[in-house]
C-alpha cells in the first residue's frame, strides 16, 4: 500500500458563470492525514473534492497532489480514488468485479484480480461474498465494498463524499470507527466531506469549516469547537448560545460585551485578537453545557446573566432549560442529569452563571442558519 502524499490547494477559485462556488481556498493537507471539509449543503465542499479528483478544473489557482500540479490531468490519471455519496457501485457486476475494476482497467489477469478481491473482501469482513451482486448486500456492506473498490486502485489520496449519509445512525457511528481504523491501517491521505460535525470531529486530524464557498477555519477538532474563528463556525459546530452587543471594555485577552442578558466577560477568540475595539459590534458564544444556574454559586470570574424561562426539556442524560434574553434571543442551558427535579415557572426570571474562559468573543458576523 502506498504511503500518503500531501494535497495542496493554492488560491483555488471555482466559478460557475457568475456564481462563485469556492473562493480563495488555501489548504495544505499533510500526507497520511485524515482531513475533513465540514459545512452545510451548498457551501462548496463537494466542489473542492471534485477539483482534487479532477472532475472540476479550478477557474483559478492550483491543485497539487504530492507536489505535482494537477492542471490538465484527468480524473482517470490522478492518484486519487473517490467514494461517491451514493457509492455508485456497478449494479451489473458481481462484487469482486466491482472491487477490482481498476485492475481490469490496467489489464490485470482474472486470477490476479480474484486474488486481490479476496484480500480486500477480508479487509472489509465480507469473505466469500465476492460472487454476490450489489443489490444482495445491505447498506453497510455496500459501503464497505465501495471503500474496497477505491482502495483497490491503490490511490495516494482517498476522497470521500459524505459516504455515510445514507446509513442509519447506529451503522453510521460504527462505520466512523471502521473508516478511521482502515485509514490508520493503509496509511494514505483521506479527504472527507461531510455536513455532520460529529463525523468530522471524531474522525479527523484536521477540519476545514466552510460557509458559502469560503473556508472559515482550518484546525483540529478541539480548536474548532473551543476556539472558533468566526461566528459561523461557532454556531455551526455544535450548539452555541449567542449574546450580541457592543464591547464595553477590552483588555488584551478578554472583553466585556454589553448583552441583553447583562454584561458578559469573555475570552477573545484567537482569530479575533487585535481586531476588536471598544464600541465594536461583537458576539459572545457560550456552549449550553458551560452555563449553570447562578443560585448558590460563588466565584470571581463568573458572569451573571439574566433571562426569562421559556420551556424545560428532559433528554435523559441531560436536562435542558430554554430561556429568552431581553431582546428575544434564545438561550439553551444543558445541565447534567443528577436526579435534580427542576420545575421552573415559564416566564419567571433566572440568573445564570458562566466562566469567562468558557465564553468566546468574536466580531459580529453571519451565523449558521438552522
Amino acid at each position: 500500500m502506498s504511503t500518503g502524499v500531501g494535497v495542496d490547494l493554492d488560491d483555488v477559485w471555482v466559478k460557475f458563470g457568475d456564481f462563485v462556488a469556492v473562493r480563495e481556498a488555501n489548504v495544505s493537507i499533510k500526507g497520511g492525514e485524515f482531513f475533513s471539509f465540514l459545512g452545510p449543503s451548498g457551501c462548496g465542499k463537494t466542489t473542492i473534492l471534485r477539483t482534487v479528483s479532477g472532475f472540476q478544473e479550478p477557474s483559478q489557482g492550483e491543485v497539487r497532489i504530492g507536489g505535482t500540479n494537477m492542471v490538465g490531468i484527468g480524473p482517470n490519471l490522478r492518484p486519487t480514488a473517490l467514494i461517491f455519496q451514493n457509492l455508485a457501485l456497478f449494479p451489473l457486476m458481481p462484487i469482486w468485479e466491482n472491487i477490482t475494476f481498476s485492475m481490469e482497467v490496467r489489464g490485470a489477469s482474472k486470477g490476479e484480480r480474484r486474488k486481490r478481491a479476496d484480500e480486500l473482501l477480508e479487509l472489509i469482513a465480507l469473505q466469500g461474498q465476492g460472487d454476490k451482486m450489489v443489490n444482495e448486500l445491505s447498506g453497510g456492506q455496500k459501503q464497505r465494498v465501495a471503500i474496497a473498490r477505491a482502495l483497490c486502485a491503490e490511490p495516494d489520496v482517498l476522497l470521500l463524499d459524505e459516504p455515510l449519509s445514507a446509513l442509519d445512525l447506529k451503522l453510521r457511528q460504527h462505520m466512523r470507527t471502521e473508516l478511521r481504523a482502515i485509514q490508520k491501517q493503509v496509511g494514505i491521505t483521506f479527504i472527507y466531506i461531510t455536513h455532520d460535525q460529529g463525523e468530522a470531529l471524531t474522525m479527523s486530524d484536521n477540519v476545514a469549516v466552510m460557509s458559502a464557498g469560503v473556508i472559515d477555519q482550518i484546525a483540529d477538532g478541539r480548536t474548532i469547537y473551543d476556539d472558533p474563528a468566526s461566528p459561523f463556525v461557532a454556531s455551526f459546530v455544535g450548539e452555541n448560545n449567542v449574546f450580541s452587543g457592543k464591547i464595553k471594555t477590552i483588555t488584551k485577552d478578554y472583553a466585556v460585551v454589553d448583552t441583553p442578558a447583562g454584561d458578559l466577560r469573555a475570552k477573545i477568540g484567537t482569530a479575533a485578537r487585535g481586531k476588536l475595539q471598544k464600541g465594536n459590534d461583537a458576539m459572545a458564544f457560550v456552549r449550553p453545557e458551560a452555563l449553570a444556574i447562578a443560585a448558590g454559586r460563588k466565584g470571581k470570574d463568573e458572569n451573571r446573566l439574566t433571562a426569562s424561562i421559556k420551556t424545560e426539556e428532559f433528554e435523559g442524560q441531560s436536562y435542558n432549560i430554554f430561556l429568552n434574553q431581553a431582546d428575544g434571543a434564545e438561550i439553551k442551558m444543558s445541565l447534567v442529569n443528577q436526579g435534580q427535579a427542576y420545575e421552573h415557572a415559564p416566564g419567571s426570571q433566572m440568573t445564570l452563571s458562566c466562566n469567562a474562559d468558557q465564553a468566546v468573543v468574536l466580531p459580529a458576523g453571519a451565523l449558521a442558519s438552522e
Binding site: 490519471l77 473517490l82 461517491f84 455519496q85
Partner: protein, 319 residues
C-alpha cells in the same frame, strides 16, 4: 384464485370502468392481435379457390403454399444443392434468395441504425439536459409528423439524379456525372434506416437516461478510458433498450413495403413485395398468407436466437 382477481379488479376500478378496461383489453388482444394472425395462418393452409368453391368439399387444408415457397411452381428446373451435392429436390431459388437478401439487408439496416443511434442516445441521455435536450428531441421527432410514404418520396428527390446530393457533389467537382443512388440501392437503405430511426433512439435513450451519472464518473475515477466505460458500464446497462430497439427496427425493416416500393432500384426486390404481389396482382391470398407466415416465423426465431445469444430475457425488453 381467478375469481378473487376479478373481484379485486372490480373493487379497485368500479363496475363501469372495470368493464370498460376488460373489454378494451379483450378487444385489443382478440380482435387486433389473435384473430387476424389466426385467420392469416388459416388462409396459408388452404387452396386458392374461387368464392363459390370456398367451404365446399374441395376446401381442405394443404401444405402446398409452403411447398411453393421451398420448391417453386411445378416444372421448376432449379434443384437444391447442398455443399455441391446435387439433389433432385426442386428449389425455389428466386423467392428464397430474395427472402435471405431481405433478412440480411434488415440486419444491415439494424446494425447501421444502432451504430448511428447509440452515440446520439448517449449524448441526449447523459450530456444534453434541460431545455436544449428537449429541443433536440423535438427536432428528431418533427420529421416523423410527415407520412412515411411522403418521406420516402422526399428521399427519392434528395437522392435523385438532379437531387441535392448529386447537385452538390457535381457542383463541388467531386463527381463528373451524378451517381444513380436509386439503382445502387443507396437510397433504399438510407430510406429504410431513416424510417425507423426513432424506434432505435428512444428505447436506448430511455435506458441511458436512467443511468446514474456517478457510475460513469466512478469508472473514470478508477482509471477507465472512455471505450471501457461504454463497454463495461453504459452498454450493459442500456442492453434492454438496445435489444428492444434492434428488435423493432429489424422486424419493421424486414416487413417494410413503402420504402422498397418507392426507393428500390429496378433490379431490387424485397420479400414483402413478393407477398404484396401474391395478395394484389397475383390474387392468391393463401399463398401470400403462407409467405407472410414464413417471414414472421423466421423473424421471430431469429430475434429469439439473438436474445439468447446476448443473454437478454423477454421481460427486460418492455422496460
Amino acid at each position: 384464485m381467478k375469481g378473487t382477481f376479478f373481484k379485486e379488479f372490480f373493487n379497485r376500478n368500479g363496475p363501469l370502468l372495470g368493464t370498460y378496461l376488460l373489454l378494451a383489453v379483450a378487444f385489443w388482444i382478440i380482435i387486433l392481435i389473435v384473430l387476424p394472425q389466426l385467420s392469416m395462418l388459416d388462409y396459408s393452409f388452404r387452396f386458392n379457390l374461387p368464392p363459390s368453391a370456398q367451404g365446399g368439399e374441395k376446401d381442405v387444408y394443404t401444405m402446398s403454399n409452403y411447398q411453393h415457397f421451398f420448391n417453386g411452381s411445378e416444372g421448376n428446373p432449379e434443384r437444391l444443392s447442398i455443399f455441391g451435392y446435387q439433389t433432385d429436390i426442386p428449389f425455389n431459388k428466386v423467392d428464397i434468395a430474395v427472402f435471405f437478401k431481405t433478412i440480411l439487408a434488415a440486419i444491415f439496416v439494424t446494425a447501421f441504425d444502432l451504430a448511428l443511434c447509440y452515440p446520439l442516445a448517449y449524448f441526449l441521455g447523459q450530456s444534453a439536459s434541460g431545455p436544449s435536450g428537449r429541443v433536440l428531441l423535438l427536432l428528431l421527432i418533427i420529421p416523423y409528423w410527415v407520412n412515411e410514404i411522403l418521406r420516402a418520396f422526399a428521399f427519392r428527390i434528395i437522392f435523385g439524379a438532379t437531387g441535392v446530393i448529386n447537385t452538390v457533389l457535381v457542383g463541388v467537382g467531386i463527381l463528373d456525372t451524378p451517381i444513380d443512388f436509386i439503382r445502387e440501392n443507396v437510397a433504399l437503405y438510407a430510406g429504410l434506416g431513416y424510417a425507423y430511426l426513432l424506434l432505435m433512439i428512444f428505447p436506448i435513450y430511455n435506458a441511458i437516461e436512467s443511468l446514474d451519472r456517478n457510475q460513469i464518473e466512478a469508472a473514470r475515477d478508477l482509471g477507465s478510458p472512455w471505450w471501457r466505460i461504454h463497454w463495461r458500464i453504459v452498454i450493459p446497462f442500456a442492453k434492454p433498450g438496445i435489444v428492444s430497439g434492434c428488435t423493432m427496427v429489424f422486424m419493421l425493416t424486414a416487413g417494410a413495403l413503402a420504402a422498397p416500393q418507392i426507393l428500390g432500384g429496378p433490379s431490387s426486390l424485397w420479400f414483402t413485395q413478393i407477398i404484396y404481389q401474391w395478395f394484389n396482382t397475383g390474387g392468391n391470398w393463401p399463398r401470400g398468407a403462407a409467405y407472410a407466415v414464413v417471414l414472421l416465423f423466421i423473424c421471430i426465431v431469429f430475434v429469439l436466437a439473438m436474445m439468447r445469444l446476448f443473454k437478454v430475457k423477454m421481460g427486460e425488453i418492455g422496460k
